[in-house]
Amino acid sequence: MADEKKLFKVTIDNITIEVEPGTSILNAARKIGGDVAPPAMCYYTTLKGSGGKCRTCLVEVAAGSTADPRPMPKLVASCRTNVMDGMVVKNITSDKVIDARNGVVEFLLINHPLDCPICDQAGECSLQDLGYEHGKEGTRYEFARRTFEKHDMGPYIQLHMTRCIMCFRCVYAADQLTEKRQHGILDRGDHAEIATYIQKSLDHDFIGNIIDVCPVGALTDKTFRFKNRVWFLKPVDAHRNCSHAKCSGKVTLWYRGEEVFRVTARKDQWGEVKDFICNECRFEKKATADWEIEGPTLVSRHSVISQGHYVGVERPQEVLYDVLDGRKPQLLMDIHSVSEVDRPEIDLSKINGPAHSTDFEPHEARGLNPTSQAGNPWNTGKLEKQ
């Protein structure tokens, strides 16, 4: 290299790397990767001004720099603090950080509805991952969770304000990708919300990207709503020549069988989009014929989405019959023919009082003719054996 740039040495969790001046602690840690990279709920590389708010990426700076090795008095937001030469940072090696992060996760969850079973974001939700890694079982919060009035944001975007963690990403995205911002943060404090104030649908050509930047299920794709779980879908990279000047046309198609269930922009390993796409690509082009297929999307094997894995998959050669040593699989059987307690001829609603285990002995033991209603003890209320 002709002109050598002076690089900064930074040590994070005892691992030393060199990065360019102006790199944030978070991005330096991401270069190391793995658990050393702090979780980030609000920071988003491509959105100017983002970060610093959620406080999940707090780290301890044990030494400021070689020139001034004093530790920083407070934990700092790694996404908004730049490295200095000789800086020593502690992330997962700091008890203070772990304690504070657990606290932040608890704060983020106390008012979260935890409605993952019906949330479209489940499976690709940063808050789910965060809660899984840093959250506790159970909650210490004993009060009613916060609710909001519902706002309709038009045909493309579904807003669930109760799930929002106030990362501000969607506001930055709207600010920076569209010329005319229509939604924003209203009210303040614990009642601050994402809204348009007057009911208005968001219809700018690039507004769909706010779905992708949302770390939780607060903003989801209305055209995909309740259609499928993401882990049943197979992501495939594709592109098209989009006529929209600012649209990259590079997307991920989410297939189930032959059907494209949804289209998203491509996310990197930190869940961030580099090339944003237009609404037409996202919402209108849901046929394979619309796209040039590039191939399967690389999915981390830790992701639940990789459950539907198919890259380099090896199908088992033997059929089930062989595996069971010639026994017939009893997976699809008629419950009536194998159950010993089933009495389909009996109307359970006619039983007086709670049923007793002896009430379900096999027909033969009771000496009853199953088809004879006359001799049915249930009809007479008698319970003694005959």
């Binding site: 708010k53 919060y141 303040r188 601050a192």
Partner: protein, 451 residues
């Protein structure tokens, strides 16, 4: 009698008007300062040891010296008149009764900092004060103290009043600058600090009203003379706004050598506690500083008399001390309920949280709800520990000091009055009809029996 530097002329008839103010020696500091270089003025302020009167107590001269001065970029001085810390109402007094003192201080400070356009950001609720200030500004302008080429020195300066609209958080300097830019009052993430990138990305200094008013006597008597008033790093005089259970609530100027005991009980200041009641506790520096029980308030842990200054009030750290803060002095007598008082403060901070960062947004509301349960007899013993843990997880982990300000009063209340919290839990019926009383905090003073 303490020496008075700010309020010495407060009782002069008509001091609010320019003519009287000038007759009483007003604007002399401007004449003096404009004959010096801006750096000499800053040097004088440094010498004076003046510390920011808004609460944090950061040395003013030092703050000024941090101001970046890039070529061709305008700089601004912004006066923080967003006084909203519960217990604090001193700046209001200054602006309402001595508007010219502030304007004079602003002109000198603007000169020192090179601010050609200076703003006073005043809280919206003080709705009648902008007019008073604007009248004073107009008078000063008419008499050549503002505008172009002041006193023929080539220094231009304008002062504008900018009103807020109800947000405690705008007292935080970066939130104030956001608000001045016409945005929501969300504090900025630092660095960059305002001294480098402030309002409209220009280098900016934000100072409290009282701090800027104090520049006037500092210029008049000189920094060295100013240091002699007071002790140690608590130089000069401080305005204390006293309220709560005292006979004479109001704004007092003290030199920082008097004792807390004298301040509460002497007739010159608070005049003691009404109805012969005894002192239970005190929040000596505005609602966010730790509450102290009587025994720790009047004497430090070493058994010395506690004085009304920065060092003495914080003697013993947060465990056994408090802070001078903004000088909002709230006295609670034996009939007051610490749990209820803490609840109102928790509610205040929940209401004033901007909602930007998670610990403050979620934590303040949670603490309020738990405190409400304890206050209304629905609390559990474990709630007290839970409160402690929540405040601990907010403190130091937020973008701005509001998180700390919300955490400290709750921590201090539990630290010193845990038995009162427990009593509320153990006596859910009784706590609705009576207060806990003084508890074991022996009041060291003899109480004169009411006549």
């Amino acid at each position: 009698m303490s020496r008075k530097l700010l309020l010495d002329k407060a009782n002069v008839q008509g001091i609010r008007t320019y003519d009287v103010y000038r007759r009483e020696g007003g604007y002399a500091s401007v004449e003096k300062a404009l004959k010096m270089t801006p750096d000499q003025v800053t040097e004088e302020v440094k010498k004076s040891g003046l510390r920011g009167r808004g609460g944090a107590g950061f040395p003013t001269g030092l703050k000024w010296s941090f101001l970046a001065k890039p070529e061709g970029v305008p700089r601004h001085l912004v006066c923080n008149a967003d006084e909203s810390e519960p217990g604090t109402f001193k700046d209001r007094y200054l602006m309402e009764f001595l508007p010219h003192l502030l304007i004079e201080g602003l002109i000198v400070s603007s000169y020192a900092l090179g601010s050609k356009v200076t703003y006073i950001y005043i809280r919206g609720e003080y709705a009648w004060i902008p007019e008073i200030l604007e009248t004073a500004i107009a008078e000063a302008r008419a008499n050549g103290w503002l505008g172009k080429n002041i006193l023929g020195t080539g220094f231009d300066c304008e002062i504008y009043v900018h009103t807020g609209a109800g947000a405690y958080i705008c007292g935080e300097e970066t939130a104030l600058l956001e608000s001045l830019e016409g945005k929501r009052g969300n504090p900025r993430i630092k660095p960059p600090f305002p001294a480098v990138k402030g309002v409209w990305d220009r280098p900016t200094v934000v100072n409290n009203v009282e701090t800027l008013a104090a520049i006037v006597p500092i210029m008049n008597i000189g920094g060295e003379e100013y240091v002699k008033i007071g002790v140690g790093k608590s130089t000069g005089t401080k305005l204390i706004s006293a309220c709560g259970n005292i006979n004479k609530p109001g704004v007092y100027e003290i030199d920082m050598t008097i004792s807390v005991e004298e301040f509460i009980y002497s007739d010159e200041y608070c005049g003691g506690i009404p109805n012969g009641k005894r002192l239970k506790a005190c929040i000596p520096g505005g609602s966010s500083v730790p509450i102290l029980p009587a025994n720790l308030l009047l004497k430090t842990v070493k058994g010395e008399k506690r004085l009304m200054n920065y060092e003495s009030l914080s003697d013993g750290g947060f465990a056994k001390g408090s802070m001078l803060g903004s000088g909002g002095f709230i006295v609670l007598d034996e009939d007051q309920c610490v749990v209820r008082n803490t609840l109102t403060l928790a509610r205040f901070y929940r209401h004033e949280s901007c909602g930007q960062c998670s610990p403050c947004r979620e934590g303040t509301g949670w603490m309020e709800k738990i405190l409400r349960n304890i206050d209304t007899g629905k609390g559990k013993k474990s709630d007290i520990d839970l409160l402690w843990d929540i405040q601990r997880k907010i403190e130091g982990n937020t973008i701005c000091p509001l998180g700390d300000a919300a955490a400290w009063p709750i921590a201090a209340a539990i630290r010193h009055f845990r038995d009162e919290f427990e009593w509320h839990v153990d006596n859910p019926q009784e706590c609705l009809v009576r207060n806990y009383g003084l508890a074991h905090y022996a009041d060291p003073l003899e109480v004169v029996a009411p006549a």
